[in-house]
């Protein structure tokens, strides 16, 4: 399961989400797909749940979705925005 590791202040800008980690003083820009994933992570979720939600929302092949979702989740973990929750 993945869960958010930080609370971000968020501002929607057209189809982007601008988010500020006020404690770290860092700002992030999420495109619409990344913003969707971040939104799904409002509650802890498994990668299967995240993938299913993306496949419902976007016209993308399951293989491509799996691969890019995993990369993005790893990026979020590397940047301290996300962590793996022990199940």
């Amino acid at each position: 399961m993945y869960e958010r590791a930080v609370q971000l202040l968020e501002a929607e800008v057209a189809d982007e989400l601008l988010a500020l980690d006020a404690d770290a003083g860092e700002c992030f820009a999420f495109n619409n797909v990344a913003a969707s994933i971040w939104g799904y992570l409002g509650e802890p979720a498994s990668i299967d749940v995240l993938r299913d939600k993306l496949l419902d929302e976007y016209d993308v092949s399951p293989d491509q979705c799996d691969a890019e979702l995993k990369v993005f989740l790893d990026v979020l973990i590397q940047r301290g925005l996300l962590r793996l929750k022990p199940s």
């Binding site: 202040l9 968020e10 501002a11 800008v13 057209a14 982007e16 601008l18 988010a19 500020l20 006020a22 003083g25 860092e26 700002c27 992030f28 820009a29 999420f30 495109n31 797909v33 990344a34 994933i37 993306l54 976007y58 993308v60 491509q64 979705c65 890019e68 979702l69 990369v71 993005f72 990026v75 979020l76 940047r79």
Partner: protein
């Protein structure tokens, strides 16, 4: 029997059509006058006296300019339209240029104006009394100014919403030859250290 011409409307001249576009777009926007795009606007030497008489702050530097926001901006309209400074009648933001050139359509441009106004209003609601929009825009480059002049509880939200407004203005309103308001090197609350991280996954 009605004449075949009974419903005919006069065909507007190209100039009238252009005014119509500008009129429709600009009177719903006003962001250039509010100081969302620039800190000040250029002025002509012969305008100094009239600018001062009208309560506009003249900035004497290498170039003669007057400070924004313009005190004659009423909502999103000009209160001195018939007697406005020369630069105001000449200036066209990138969005207006695109619509006039036919590379963007008016309904889409009006949506962009509406979004920009929403971002502007969010910043205005967070700004302390007496702070101008150009001063708020300076916060990402000068966080110390923000910390000294903004309620600490509101500061992070103001910082974020200023960034949001500047980013959107850069994308749609400022000319490419003007350069961006928002350098990607100045996006932390503590100074010019980190870059804006673009978590772009366009093809997930």
């Amino acid at each position: 029997m009605l004449s075949p011409m009974a419903d005919a409307q006069p065909i507007p001249s190209p100039q009238a059509a252009e005014m119509s576009i500008g009129s429709q777009l600009c009177t719903k926007c006003g962001l250039c006058c509010a100081g969302a795009l620039h800190d000040n606007a250029s002025a002509k030497p012969h305008e100094i006296e009239s600018l001062r008489k009208r309560g506009m702050q003249v900035v004497m530097g290498e170039e003669l300019r007057f400070a924004l926001p313009c005190p004659h901006l009423k909502g999103t309209s000009c209160g001195i339209y018939d007697d406005r400074p020369h630069v105001c009648s000449r200036y066209r933001c990138q969005l207006l240029r695109d619509v006039e050139a036919g590379t963007a359509d008016l309904p889409d441009a009006l949506l962009k104006v509406r979004e920009a106004r929403r971002l502007h209003d969010a910043v205005q609601q967070l700004m302390p009394a007496g702070m101008s929009l150009p001063q708020a825009r300076s916060i990402p480059r000068n966080p110390q100014y923000g910390r000294e002049n903004v309620d600490p509880e509101l500061y992070p939200a103001l910082f974020l919403h200023v960034l949001a407004l500047m980013r959107y203005v850069d994308q749609h309103f400022r000319h490419s030859d003007e350069g961006p308001l928002l350098s990607e090197e100045v996006l932390t609350m503590d100074g010019p250290v980190e870059r804006l991280r673009k978590d772009r996954h366009d093809h997930v």
